[in-house]
């Protein structure tokens, strides 16, 4: 990998890698919303009662509770594509990690189902009528389920890279895997989730203000503070992660494949910081703030995902992988996929436009 990612690789590998990175990016933006939104609702149940008054609704919590079930559904749907492409790219190592973790890995599915229903439960009148302690339990259960899923994916990814440990791990009957980087990686993804949620929430708050004239200044301030703190913690987590990365990993990051992304990652974090500081100063979501944050969040996520792949490719037998990808690229169906991708993207856009037209001048539906 002597050129910036994904260049310098054969076309087949490049194609699958780009599709994987792009679809994983979409998935991450949604899952970040779910994870941080669920965490926000837990905190809201702990401190919200003291802060809230009937005249001043907590918009971030209201919107998060309302949209989280859809966001999770969308995240899972979006997650199907990277799940497909990771199998094409790294079949043997991905499958092996799945098999080694066995029931620990499979438990993620019931956890997600429970988390999903907890989110729906949080939108019901029944939930509103329960004592705050019970509401807190529901919110904590949902968050715990999503944290478990996130941890499982990190564990699976790291185990898939540690080829040398597979036979010993299997023989030892272990079902939990950690290495030197596990907790630092988890910290990076968790800290990145809050600014990701904050970006989407910023647009949702703006929409509320524009469409309904909602007073959102206090929510913007809280959101901006949370995002800034998370970004500082994210920077600290990245330093931590680099300090525990083995020498081979650091060598991979020193290749030309990683260079551009190592440079743009901190720039993307800076964009976000500038955006949120501007919002704090103006006490509202200015266009500058929204644009800066909207560039910064996907920009950082893209860099993080690409660097993750650079690290992974550095630990793989690249020649063997390339051979497999070239064989796979000969199967038919690519143009059918591209045609339906464009067509269905257009139809999805049309659906959204249809609803936006219907929404124009009408009150929102809270109970959906």
């Amino acid at each position: 990998m002597d050129r910036v990612f994904p260049f310098g690789l054969p076309v087949a590998t490049q194609t699958y890698l780009v599709l994987y990175v792009v679809t994983l990016l979409i998935h991450f933006l949604l899952i970040g919303y779910v994870l941080a939104g669920s965490a926000w609702l837990v905190v809201d149940r702990i401190v919200g009662g003291r802060l809230a008054t009937s005249e001043r609704p907590r918009w971030v919590s209201t919107i998060a509770a309302d949209w989280l079930p859809f966001a999770l559904g969308a995240a899972i749907t979006a997650g199907v594509a990277p799940l497909l492409f990771v199998q094409i790219l790294y079949k043997h190592s991905f499958y092996t990690a799945n098999l080694l973790l066995f029931y620990r890995w499979m438990l993620m599915l019931p956890a997600l189902i429970v988390g999903f229903y907890m989110l729906y439960l949080g939108k019901t009148p029944w939930f509103d009528a329960r004592p705050r302690a019970l509401q807190l339990v529901v919110r904590i259960v949902a968050l715990a389920c999503f944290l478990y899923a996130g941890w499982s994916w990190t564990e699976n990814h790291l185990l898939s890279l540690d080829h040398g440990s597979w036979a010993g791990f299997y023989g030892s009957r272990q079902f939990v895997y950690t290495d030197a980087t596990t907790w630092a990686r988890c910290a990076v993804w968790l800290c990145a989730a809050m600014p990701t949620m904050a970006m989407t929430m910023a647009w949702q708050l703006r929409d509320r203000r524009v469409r309904e004239g909602a007073e959102t200044a206090r929510d913007v301030r809280t959101l901006a503070l949370a995002a800034i703190v998370s970004l500082v913690l994210l920077a600290a987590s990245l330093i931590w992660y680099r300090s525990v990365l083995p020498a081979s990993g650091r060598a991979s990051l020193a290749t030309p494949a990683a260079g551009l992304y190592l440079w743009f990652g901190p720039v993307a974090i800076t964009f976000q910081l500038v955006g949120w500081i501007a919002a704090l100063a103006a006490k509202r979501l200015t266009s500058l703030a929204l644009v800066a944050v909207t560039i910064g969040v996907p920009g950082f996520a893209l860099c993080a995902i690409v660097l993750r792949e650079v690290l992974r490719l550095g630990r793989m037998d690249l020649d063997a992988l390339v051979e497999v990808h070239q064989a796979e690229a000969h199967v038919g169906g690519l143009f059918v996929f591209l045609a339906f991708f464009v067509l269905n993207a257009a139809v999805i856009t049309y659906c959204v436009v249809l609803v936006r037209r219907g929404l124009a001048g009408r009150p929102p539906v809270e109970s959906a």
């Binding site: 859809f70 749907t77 497909l84 199998q87 499958y95 092996t96 098999l99 729906y120 199967v331 219907g358």
Partner: protein, 473 residues
């Protein structure tokens, strides 16, 4: 050519096929409910807009809530779960499917996105949208859900009837395979049936509807049961499209397959007769309990049908391409020379339990070749299936496995591998004594080699299989 080795999980006394089968049946049922549900909702929206059914709107809201809460959550996640479970049971099978059809799977994903988004927009905003917008969203939701079936049906039916693909390797020859259309049409009718019966349950459970309204809605919903009339023809078409040996097993050659086919046909017949005579022709009222019973029958029919569809593929998971135990036909000859576990890097987890190395080898051979369909002492356990055979019977029957049982793949290992497996089965049958002698008689190994040579390295030919079944052997 050696196969790739994966770590193999131990499911204890539970047969792996039962686990994936159970999850698969549940997922198929929920997914088909989502597809039929979309079509049913579109029909009811159309009725409401034309003023033909005054209570349709009230029903729509409650039914869509059920659809979303069940299919969007459990349906979507069990879909992902099927993927993960298939990796657990047979990573090689799913790997080949992904290799061959990843662009079509990716195409299905685009429809899945449209399905989820249009469905959620309807769920959330239906009350404030115009009639035309509502209908548009529902039509798109239904179309996307059905197209999702369209794509996945091609991939699943290819596993049994890959015909043209086997020769050409062309993805479209595999996708539009002989059982594609009968399977697609049959599943579409099943989807309508499940949705219609579920609608009857929901209608009865909707408190704001009076008896008259419920009766009217049930009558409308039962219209979607009329296509069941085509099921016998589509069933015959499907059976005629599958390989002769597979058909023979379903039609009497295998007692289990025939039993499950009978359950599927019988349950469908009961539902069909009740629906067409009672609901459609005589316009009977159906209460919640009866509707639930019919849904349970539909689940039974789905379970029976899916069991047969999976079962008649044996000894393959992908016909002519991959045996049930994840060995390719072309690999058998080499494994007969080098041994089936000589390249397996994964140790036994319970190595200390075996008194000698030969039993340890037997355990590894069992794990690699047999454990996907069999347990040792639990469900479909070899100790029971082969327990009463004499030791020489075991040797010969396993060496000539594809002829002993035509739905079994050929044994893919050396005579030492086979003898180790035979010793393991015998040791298990004897109650796992602490001491067990090694069996290294050269004459025995020579006889096994001879039987292996006589059996050959390929599966029993389809015609031979069909003939053997007709002959009752």
């Amino acid at each position: 050519m050696s196969p790739p080795y994966y770590p193999i999980s131990d499911f204890g006394p539970v047969m792996k096929g039962a686990v994936i089968g159970g999850m698969g049946i549940f997922h198929v049922f929920v997914a088909q409910f989502a597809i039929g549900g979309g079509i049913l909702l579109t029909y009811f929206e159309w009725l409401a807009q034309r003023g033909k059914e005054p209570h349709a709107r009230a029903f729509l809201n409650s039914f869509f809530r059920v659809l979303v809460l069940i299919s969007f959550v459990v349906g979507a996640l069990t879909g992902v779960g099927m993927w993960f479970m298939t990796i657990q049971i047979s990573p090689r099978t799913i790997g080949i499917m992904v290799d061959q059809f990843h662009w079509l799977w990716a195409t299905e994903w685009t429809f899945f996105c449209l399905e989820i988004l249009s469905g959620y927009l309807f769920y959330r905003y239906a009350e404030i949208l115009s009639g035309r917008s509502r209908l548009t969203l529902l039509v798109l939701y239904s179309l996307a859900a059905w197209m999702s079936l369209f794509w996945i049906n091609g991939i699943l039916s290819w596993q049994l009837t890959p015909d043209g693909w086997t020769q050409s390797g062309n993805v479209w020859a595999g996708f539009l395979n002989p059982s594609f259309w009968p399977s697609l049409l049959f599943r579409t009718i099943v989807a309508l049936t499940i949705a219609s019966l579920m609608a009857c349950v929901v209608i009865n459970a909707t408190p704001q509807l009076d008896r008259e309204a419920k009766a009217s809605l049930i009558h409308r919903a039962s219209n979607l049961l009329v296509p069941m009339l085509l099921m016998p023809f589509l069933g015959v078409w499907y059976l005629s499209s599958i390989p002769a040996d597979s058909r023979s097993w379903a039609l009497g050659g295998s007692a289990a397959m025939t039993l499950f086919l009978t359950i599927a046909v019988g349950a469908s017949l009961l539902i069909g007769l009740y629906a067409l005579i009672g609901l459609v022709r005589q316009r009977l009222y159906i209460n919640g309990a009866t509707a639930t019973l019919l849904v349970a029958l539909a689940f039974g029919a789905t379970a029976g049908g899916e069991f047969v569809r999976e079962g008649v593929r044996k000894p393959y998971t992908i016909r002519q391409t991959l045996y049930s135990n994840s060995i390719r036909p072309a690999e058998v000859a080499r494994l007969r020379q080098v041994g089936c576990v000589s390249g397996d890097p994964y140790p036994l987890r319970d190595a200390a339990d075996y008194p000698n190395d030969q039993l340890k080898l037997g355990a590894r051979v069992f794990r690699f070749q047999c454990s996907v369909c069999h347990t040792l002492n639990g469900m479909n356990g070899l100790s029971e299936l082969a327990g009463t055979w004499t030791i020489d019977q075991k040797r010969m029957n396993i060496a000539k496995l594809q002829h002993t049982k035509p739905f079994m793949p050929p044994f893919a290992g050396t005579s030492k591998d086979l003898e180790a497996l035979v010793q393991l089965l015998t040791w298990k049958r004897e109650g796992e004594p602490k001491q067990w002698p090694l069996s290294q008689n050269k004459a025995v190994l020579g006889r096994i080699d001879q039987w292996l040579a006589e059996a050959g390295t390929v599966a029993a030919a389809p015609k031979e299989v069909a003939k053997a079944i007709r002959g009752g052997s």
